[in-house]
Amino acid sequence: MKFLIKNILRIIPVLFIISLIVFLLVRVTGDPVSLMLPETATDAERAQLRESLGLNDPLYIQYFTYLGDLITGDFGESFRYNQPALGLVLERLPASFGLAFASMLVATLISIPLGILSAIKRNSFIDLFITGGAVLGKAMPNFWLGIMLILLFSVQLNIFPVSGTGSLMHFVLPAITLGTAIAAEMTRLIRSSMLEILGQEYIRTARSKGLLEAVVVNKHGFRNALIPVVTIMALQTATLIGGTLITETVFSWPGMGQLLIQAVNLRDMAVVQAATFIIALLVIISNLLADLAYRYLDPRIKYD
């Protein structure tokens, strides 16, 4: 309990710093006015809009206004949609969550067996194939993979729908696209944590006692490897959310990633701030949960 409170308290300064970073990012040099108006707008129209958006106040006043609003949960209004930014972001969360969950599922299904297999068969052909595949998976940019998958599985083979949402089939290609990069990273991490465990004293003891290899791996190895896997999964949260930015654009998935990209392009700063904040909060919470799970799974862990 004490651990939990301590960690939750620690979130506060982190959030404060995030608010400062986000504010500086979007306000210091950004002038949304020229983006909001068409090429043919006049100077008077620009000045008018700037004034009405409060962009003429000194920077620190803008920051404190912003911070005050933030504490009351007011992230301002999206000028693109004329709606409260926070609502827009929350409205998109389910779609992004769905995609992230499906991708994590794909990544887990791929990486756990492959990671363990390559650790057990260390330096064999299989191991090399898997680690090699992981490098390729990592080096392949998301957008490229996504477009390739559409061309092959939708246009050529006509198995999956091209884009959009609506059915379970719609999840397959985006989830594979986003899941691949995550799987590549996770496979590497699982392999090395598995190797570490397999190299440990008690496994060697178990082996020397003449236990079957399968039993050793299953009973001693896998169970202990599971603990870091939980952490590894939680650590991918930031990467996962980052990946939705590109994957959602390729598959026109109506989630937070697309909202954010368009908000950045149009300098719809209220939305950018709200979304960044929510994402940061999600990452922090998932890491906190991972910590809790870790404690629960492995009671030997002690915290100073």
């Binding site: 983006l35 108006l37 090429e39 043919t40 004329n82 194939f129 390729l136 246009v155 884009s163």
Partner: protein
């Protein structure tokens, strides 16, 4: 060695994936799309960007208006020749500042309310008076809407406004239900918009789709489709793939690289038509810039083979032009349209005469990704100017940085831009070249052009006004504060079972789209 072998194998796998997906594209029948048939009463259109808002006064996006036109009606419609009635049955010019309109009888909004002159007053005065709205600038000429009775009203302008009908037949001119909005509030309207058009609102899932359905009470011809879906698919290749697999019936902004594929496919075809957007180079005439010399400007114009750019980048679509006021606009100078100048030898000669025989270095700023093939066009222009001895330094700016520089008028010698014109009138197109507007940007200053533009601005004699604009265009084409390159085409991928004619204004009137 084993590791190397493995990678060799993996590479082969990835490559065969690439090969699989590309080679077969030459076979001529990709995807599984079937032709649209008569009993299919649903239409799906894929656009490159999501709709922006249902506040028709607070956006300036053509692609959003393209959807709205199916749900709202203007007072008058731009027709082949002049203006056609829409919500307004008839109109007349009472005096220079007063226009009298009579509404069609028995028009109902989607919520059952009857259309009256009060709705017109509410709609037009809102955008004319609220300077926070993005369309305000295009309606602020309206002083007042005077309601005479339920069906009759007068629009009074501050100054004589020859282009009033142009203003009333475009983005922001849809008539809104005043009672509904006043009773339920704007938020409710934005969530559940109500208009008079042939289709009514069903659903808007942001960054995904807008769905509308037939309005059986429509005052005009009965709607042809039961349900129409506009899907937002920003990634070009995804949009094309949807078309090829039959996921959508029409895809807008088809990238030139995919035209061949779409044509080769049995059930899809390419439809293209001119738009209001004209690509141009804008040149600074400020003292100290080489471009202040008219010979240098002419040399630049003559050195660029505009048709070659269209041929190599846009598969030949688009039309070369020497004016920005293209046919279909009030005041267009058709003598300058479809014409272009290209004579590299003379360009070299002119440069020599101007004292730049040994070469000249200029800087061109261009946006990257804003207009069709903008980056590639600039790169070709660079190569073409290189041929006549102009060393062109290119500066590419992603749109937001470009827009910043544009607003602060801080480009160097020249910049590349594509202007649209939703007003369909020469006034908007040439306004930027009056000495007052041009100050700091091109610094173009020609008293004769100033005079022509100013007189035309409030000239209620349509014929004389058009002549004034045509004359101004002639002078501009000779003096080249802007060098016009070409008018862009809009290109659509269309299911072969459909009749679809691209419109100059890029609106997507779905009832004009029919099954063959």
């Amino acid at each position: 060695m084993k590791k190397l072998l493995t990678f060799g194998l993996l590479f082969v796998l990835v490559f065969s994936l690439v090969a699989c997906s590309s080679n077969s594209s030459t076979s001529g029948d990709e995807g599984s799309v079937e032709k649209k048939t008569e009993d299919d009463k649903e239409l799906v259109i894929a656009t490159g960007a999501d709709m922006v808002t249902f506040d028709i006064h607070d956006h300036n996006t053509t692609s959003t208006e393209a959807i709205h036109v199916n749900m709202f009606n203007y007072l008058v419609k731009r027709g082949e020749d002049g203006f056609d009635p829409d919500l307004a049955e008839s109109w007349e010019n009472v005096d220079d500042n007063t226009w009298k309109f009579k509404l069609r009888e028995g028009v109902k909004f989607h919520n059952g309310e009857e259309l009256t002159a009060d709705d017109v007053k509410f709609t037009l005065e809102r955008v004319a008076n609220d300077n926070k709205l993005l369309e305000h600038g295009n309606y602020s000429q309206i002083k007042e809407v005077k309601v005479i009775n339920d069906l009759e009203f007068e629009i009074i302008t501050h100054q004589p406004e020859p282009a009033l009908l142009n203003r009333l037949s475009r983005l922001g001119s849809g008539i809104l239900p005043s009672k509904y909005i006043e009773e339920e509030g704007w938020d409710k309207f934005l969530e559940n918009p109500v208009g008079t058009g042939p289709y009514k609102f069903v659903e808007w899932k942001k960054d995904d789709r807008v769905v509308i359905e037939a309005n059986s009470d429509y005052f005009g011809e009965a709607p042809k489709w039961n349900k129409v879906t506009f899907r937002a698919i920003p990634e070009d290749s995804t949009r094309v793939s949807e078309l090829l697999t039959g996921g959508v019936d029409i895809a807008t902004n088809l990238p030139p690289s995919d035209w061949e594929r779409v044509k080769d496919n049995e059930a899809t075809e390419v439809a293209q038509g001119p738009t209001q957007r004209v690509m141009m180079l804008v040149l600074r005439q400020t003292e100290g810039h080489a471009t202040s010399d008219p010979k240098v400007r002419e040399a630049i114009d003559l050195a660029i083979d505009k048709q070659a750019i269209l041929d190599s980048l846009m598969e030949g679509s688009g039309t070369v032009t020497r004016t920005r006021v293209t046919p279909g606009n009030t005041g267009a100078n058709e003598d300058l349209y479809g014409k272009t100048l290209y004579d590299p030898e003379k360009a070299k000669q002119l440069l020599k005469e101007a004292g730049y025989g040994d070469g000249l270095e200029l800087k061109l700023s261009a946006p990257n990704g804003r207009y069709l093939k903008d980056k590639e066009s600039a790169e070709l222009i660079q190569a073409m100017l290189g041929e006549v001895g102009i060393d062109l330094k290119l500066e590419f700016l992603e749109w937001s940085s470009f827009a910043d520089k544009y607003a602060s008028k801080s480009f160097d010698d020249m910049f590349l831009i594509g202007y649209g014109n939703s007003m369909f009138d020469a006034a908007l197109a040439l306004d930027r070249l009056s000495s007052k507007q041009a100050e700091g940007e091109t610094d173009y200053n020609n008293p004769e052009v100033d005079k022509l533009l100013e007189e035309a601005m409030s000239n209620m004699n349509a014929e004389e006004r058009a002549k004034q604009y045509q004359k101004a265009q002639e002078i501009i084409a000779e003096e080249r504060p802007q060098i016009y390159l070409y008018q862009l085409d809009a290109v659509y991928g269309v299911n072969k079972g459909l009749n679809f004619e691209p419109r100059l204004d890029e609106m997507l009137y779905v009832d004009d789209i029919t099954v063959k």
